[in-house]
């Protein structure tokens, strides 16, 4: 097709464009000086603008970042790392670092305590007893002096719970992913992960030096495109519940593709272990693919309300990772005090299936309240419910109002999620009462109505 250069033009077809009207309420107008100096609207910048910088001084970005931070912190970024004054229960007291006051009795939708186990009296008692015996810390790497009898038993209990031959305990969920992926895969291998996989998965991929690819979220057809034609070792990584969207993977489709191309499959059940499935063994149990997944990973900081991570699978896998997971054996072992609390929390999670029933009842109730209020929650089907705001410029202003009206929840914006995919990530707990949920939904509705996000 040939066209004349005279034809370069704008052609309006169909309806006219929406009139540009709304301006950011938090952004000051930009001032451009003839000298070339620029005073940017600080809130139009974000962390990514300070990640890369060319030059010779490793500290060169510190100054510009600090100047930016001083401007944006009071404008909204202060809402991160607000110090709690209480346990992460369903009601919390939180320091408002903007005013210096303590906001008391906020409904807590921020903490991961899905089964409410972190502050159970039995758990606290187990922790106290372990502190009397073992003191505060493990004082050593798990492969040297840091493994106590508590660690050994807990690893066996986790393996038994997961119906696997063995399990390995890590100091954090982050280190479990990094240590497992980098411990197993090498340069020249291929790792394909869901595009929404956690940062610890991505960091493990980088450390492994394997060729890394990402498939479109939950799309088995795209996974197949990424695997096709590669000869060599292949590992596919997915999550049980995606932490920012609260949706689950189509395990059957993904297992089928992995089998077709001879890829091993690893699942990170950080947000789904202990809550999904009849026995709490995760999305793999819930969807019936426990034996088809090769590597089962999870954390203890979410549903068990403690700290740490695990990998479970065959004895051969665990034995290999014991020797090659650098993030584990170059870290101090989990504190025995924490392990004692985790053992009790796991015991309670197994003994009290009614906790999971209560959680799912609460999830269904909250989802109904939000649906009735026409508050958008994306594709969530889990206890992680994103309240979709989709307005990067106003997410902090909305967050401040929600905070001051009585809810503790964190705003999530770019780069943690995509541009204009900003949201509040709500975590539902079995411990929430109907009153907590009703009050919380009413506050969200009231504030979001003011911003035109729900009717």
């Amino acid at each position: 097709m040939s066209r004349s250069k005279k034809e370069s033009s704008t052609i309006s077809m169909g309806e006219a464009m929406a009139t540009p009207s709304r301006k950011s309420i938090t952004d000051a107008p930009d001032r451009i000086e003839e000298s070339g100096g620029v005073q940017p609207g600080a809130m139009q910048y974000d962390y990514t603008n300070f990640y890369f910088g060319a030059g010779e001084d490793a500290f060169a970005l510190l100054g510009p970042f600090d100047d930016w931070w001083q401007e944006v912190k009071p404008a909204g970024y202060y809402m991160y790392e607000l110090p709690l004054q209480t346990a992460p229960g369903t009601r919390v007291d939180v320091e408002d670092t903007k005013t210096g006051g303590i906001r008391e009795g906020l409904i807590n939708f921020a903490s991961y305590n899905y089964l409410g186990l972190s502050y159970r009296p039995e758990v606290k008692e187990a922790i106290k007893e372990a502190a009397d015996v073992y003191g505060g810390g493990a004082s050593g790497s798990p492969i040297l002096s840091g493994t106590t009898e508590l660690h050994r038993r807990f690893a066996e209990e986790v393996a038994a719970f997961k119906n696997k031959e063995a399990a390995l305990i890590f100091p954090t969920g982050y280190s479990a992913n990094v240590g497992t992926i980098a411990g197993l895969m090498r340069s020249g291998d291929l790792i394909v992960a869901d595009q929404y996989a956690h940062a610890s998965v991505v960091d493990g991929m980088i450390l492994s030096k394997a060729t890394s690819k990402f498939f479109r979220h939950n799309r088995a057809d795209d996974l197949e495109r990424k695997l096709k034609g590669f000869d060599g070792k292949k590992l596919v990584i997915i999550e049980g519940v995606y932490s920012m969207d609260g949706d689950v993977p189509p395990l059957g489709e993904i297992v089928e593709v992995c089998r077709k191309y001879g890829a091993r499959l690893m699942i990170d059940e950080a947000h789904s272990a202990f809550v999904y499935g009849e026995n709490g063994r995760g999305v793999v149990e819930d969807q019936g693919f426990e034996d088809e997944v090769d590597i089962h990973l999870g954390t203890f900081s979410k549903s068990l309300g403690g700290q740490g991570g695990y990998v479970a699978g065959s004895s051969a896998l665990v034995n290999y990772l014991r020797g090659f997971s650098r993030s584990r054996f170059f870290s101090c072992a989990l504190s025995p005090v924490v392990v004692a609390g985790l053992r009790k929390a796991l015991e309670l999670a197994v003994a009290e299936p009614e906790l999971r029933a209560k959680l799912w009842d609460n999830v269904a109730y909250m989802q109904k309240l939000l649906a009735d209020a026409q508050i958008p929650i994306g594709d969530s089907t889990s206890q992680v419910i994103p309240i979709m705001v989709r307005d990067d410029a106003r997410i902090f202003a909305i967050g401040e109002e929600i905070f001051r009206e009585g809810i503790f929840i964190n705003p999530v914006k770019y780069p943690a999620v995509g541009k204009h995919k900003s949201r509040f990530r709500m975590s539902i707990s079995a411990s929430h009462t109907r009153e907590d949920l009703e009050q919380g939904a009413a506050i969200f509705q009231r504030v979001l109505q003011r911003y035109g996000i729900c009717p």
Binding site: R3, K5, I11, G14, E34, Y51, G55, G63, Q195, K419
Partner: protein, 220 residues
């Protein structure tokens, strides 16, 4: 000091993931691509319809690799850097002047382009010598006024140069993956992308009724 000012009626910029291997191949040795994911860099495809410049109206198309900006003070902090590895215009005079001033790697041939608005979508179609080069579509989100401070990098022979540029105007941007690109197997671009290129941008920018201001070039 501003050395070039160009008013535009409409402009698009779409970011695509590209293999870092391809990005590195398009860059001079002193520049490195930024990575949005491990081993995935960023290709920027821009098309602007300038309706006011020293040579009158014309269209410009640029393919760039996104690179780290040189760090300055907060007052001059650029959001991103761009290294254009292919530029083309519909006007020989515009090309000659911009090439002399900014040393962008212009194609020595006029392009033809159409900017087509349909509802909330803008589609740019470009041809070279009658052969289709690319079709690029972006979509709108909410509109606001903005100024982007960016850095452009270029080479004049062996000399390494950079400039600060500001793009001001009405602006909409999102990452909802509603846009698309179709790169035709044109000799100009077929060898650039040896690895798989996605068919939709991960970020879509659309500008209206604004101005692009270039500041003087600095050697570094």
């Amino acid at each position: 000091m501003p050395v070039g000012s160009y008013a535009f009626r409409t402009g698009v910029s779409a970011f695509f993931e590209m293999a870092t291997e391809d990005a590195v191949a398009a860059l001079p040795r002193h520049l490195q691509p930024i990575e949005v994911r491990h081993q995935r860099s960023v290709l920027s495809v821009t098309a602007f319809l300038f309706d006011e410049s020293e040579v009158g109206p014309y269209t410009e198309l640029m393919l760039s690799v996104v690179v780290p900006p040189m760090v300055g003070s907060w007052l001059h902090h650029a959001k991103a850097g761009f290294y254009p590895f292919l530029a083309a215009t519909s006007s020989e005079e515009a090309r000659r002047r911009r090439e002399e001033r900014f040393h962008f790697p212009y194609l020595d041939e006029d392009i033809d382009a159409q900017f087509i608005e349909t509802g909330d979508r803008l589609t740019v179609r470009a041809w070279v010598g009658g052969d289709p080069l690319l079709d690029l579509s972006v979509t709108q989100y909410s509109w606001e006024s903005t100024t982007h401070v960016l850095q452009g990098f270029m080479m004049n022979g062996e000399e390494r140069l950079r400039t600060t540029l500001q793009i001001s105007g009405e602006y909409t941007m999102h990452e909802n993956e509603r846009g698309s690109i179709n790169l035709y197997p044109h000799p100009l671009i077929k060898d650039v992308f040896r690895n798989e290129m996605p068919s939709s941008p991960f970020r879509e920018h659309w500008f209206k009724n604004g101005r692009e201001v270039f500041h003087s070039l600095e050697a570094f």
